[in-house]
């Protein structure tokens, strides 16, 4: 098993990026098809269990992947250690909370 934290992050960024591709393509195709449809039509799409499962994958891998990416950008462009650490903590917190809230509400919609 990989012990080094940076190496682990490097690997997880690649893996989450790969896992992200199928649900992302699926989601984009569907969004293109329904983005200007009425409430009921969109509701039918979001209530489908397959939709919920794939959106679940999309949000989990997506927010995990973007959290690592944002972290690297902060690492490169914020010189102040204190501001960098606070920014990292906030962005990590949000990239856990936002997908969880969205998924919870998505399940509420479908019920």
């Amino acid at each position: 098993m990989i012990k080094n934290n940076a190496t682990k992050k490097w690997l997880m960024q690649r893996l989450s990026g790969l896992f992200l591709v199928p649900p992302m393509i699926w989601f984009l195709l569907n969004i293109i098809s329904i983005y200007n449809k009425t409430y009921l039509e969109v509701l039918i799409f979001f209530s489908n269990p397959i939709s919920i499962f794939l959106i679940f994958l999309l949000l989990i891998f997506g927010f995990y992947h973007l959290s690592i990416g944002l972290n690297q950008i902060f690492e490169d462009y914020i010189s102040n250690e204190k501001i960098k650490n606070v920014t990292n903590i906030i962005s990590r917190f949000l990239s856990i909370i936002i997908p969880l809230v969205t998924l919870f509400l998505l399940i509420q919609i479908s019920l």
């Binding site: 195709l29 462009y77 969205t102």
Partner: protein, 128 residues
């Protein structure tokens, strides 16, 4: 240990532009755009939860020219990040580092990001 003397990445304003740096920075920019896109999708789902009246506001926006522009923009941003990401994986396996290959790959990434956008849009509009 005091870290304030650590070197930072070269800031964009003082960097000489080449194809490789253009694609490299656009990998990051599209990464941030994809983040914004994903946040918008979350907002969209939440608006469904808030009810038909609230959804109507987003619907009015999405049904306009700006809505189409936004959807196409997110599709392009994903396409670019996806293709550039594939090259990152190729790099990780140790290939594609010499200048000529790198420039050809950069041009292909830019070109195919637009082709993939059009393809995804046409498939989404007509076949799903």
């Amino acid at each position: 240990m005091k870290n304030s003397d650590n070197p930072l990445s070269p800031h964009l304003q003082i960097y000489k532009w080449q194809l490789s740096s253009l694609v490299s920075i656009f990998h990051r920019i599209t990464g941030i755009l994809n983040t914004a896109g994903l946040l918008f999708f979350c907002f969209w789902i939440i608006s469904m939860f808030l009810g038909e009246n609230f959804y109507q506001i987003i619907y009015t926006f999405l049904d306009s020219f700006f809505g189409k522009f936004l959807i196409l923009g997110i599709t392009w941003s994903f396409s670019f990040h996806f293709l550039s990401g594939i090259r990152h994986l190729v790099w990780d396996f140790g290939y594609g580092y010499d200048l000529k290959k790198s420039n050809i790959a950069s041009i292909l990434i830019i070109l195919f990001s637009f082709i993939l956008t059009i393809l995804l849009y046409l498939i989404g509009k007509h076949f799903i």
